[in-house]
């Protein structure tokens, strides 16, 4: 099917092109990164990675264990954040609306 026939696909393509355009016009370190407003939640991964790298560098006894310790701690942090997000979603969206209004 041609993109001209599907307005949603046209919209997606135009949004994608606008992201590409803003990426090309981006001045790193001066401007905020483009697209962060939409994908901000993915930043938890580099955040967990950086915290794990610095923390495990001073915690591991043998530096040979550092890569595995970093990977493990990164996964633990991301899993904990996802778990908290799911728990809060269930609380706010599912459980609280079940309570009586009065």
């Amino acid at each position: 099917m041609s993109p001209d026939m599907n307005p949603d696909m046209n919209l997606d393509m135009s949004l994608g092109m606008s992201h590409v355009g803003s990426l090309l016009a981006w001045a790193p370190f001066l401007q905020p990164a483009p697209g962060v407003q939409h994908w901000w939640w993915l930043l938890v991964i580099p955040m967990a990675l950086g915290v794990s790298m610095a923390y495990k560098a001073i915690r591991v006894q043998s530096l040979a264990d550092w890569p595995m310790a970093v990977a493990k701690m990164t996964i633990q942090i991301v899993a904990a954040v996802v778990g908290i997000a799911v728990g809060l979603y269930l609380l706010v969206i599912v459980l609280l609306p079940m309570l009586p209004a009065e």
Partner: protein
């Protein structure tokens, strides 16, 4: 007749309790604090370890702190380090050392001066002076995450530089690890 011997009360401890005995396990060796390691660790992340002979550990710590610091500047731009408008955040960010001050200076010199991008007028209350900000100023999630990344880099670098101050020099060398019983194969 002799007076009866004083018996210790049930809640009395047999030996004097010091703060150190409560906080530090008995097997912990004496720790020597080397201020130079902490100072070098503040001058640049990981430098305290490198200067004391723990090169690899210093490079790993440096990589972790710089991932957060550079990542924060990429996400939020230099606007996320601001010692005047975000003073409380900057107290933590300053743990990164001079690079945080350089980023804050770049914010002043490039963004707030209008050097890098045109200034735009912000809405202001009637009767109040006009407010102009850089069109590159970070807003919302980009600014929040950039600020948080650099803040975490500063806090973690404080941990790293304290570790550099108390870690024995050249303690990661293979011969030292063998003496300590680490890395022994079965």
């Amino acid at each position: 007749m002799d007076p009866p011997e004083a018996r210790p009360l049930p809640f009395e401890r047999p030996s004097p309790v010091t703060l150190r005995s409560l906080t530090v396990p008995a097997a912990t060796p004496e720790i020597t604090f080397r201020p130079l390691g902490a100072i070098l660790g503040w001058v640049f992340p990981g430098l305290g370890h490198i200067a004391s002979g723990n090169m690899k550990r210093g490079l790993y710590a440096m990589a972790g702190v710089l991932v957060l610091f550079v990542g924060g500047l990429l996400v939020g731009g230099v606007d996320c380090v601001d010692r005047k408008e975000d003073r409380l955040w900057f107290y933590g960010q300053a743990g990164c050392g001079p690079i945080a001050f350089v980023a804050s200076y770049a914010n002043d010199a490039l963004l707030k001066s209008g050097e890098a991008a045109p200034m735009i007028e912000m809405p202001s209350y009637p009767g109040q002076p006009e407010v102009f900000v850089s069109s590159y100023k970070g807003l919302a999630h980009a600014n929040e995450f950039g600020t948080l990344f650099v803040f975490l880099a500063g806090l973690l670098n404080l941990c790293v530089l304290l570790d550099a101050a108390v870690r024995p020099p050249a303690s990661d060398a293979p011969s030292v690890r063998r003496r300590a019983g680490e890395g022994a194969s079965a």
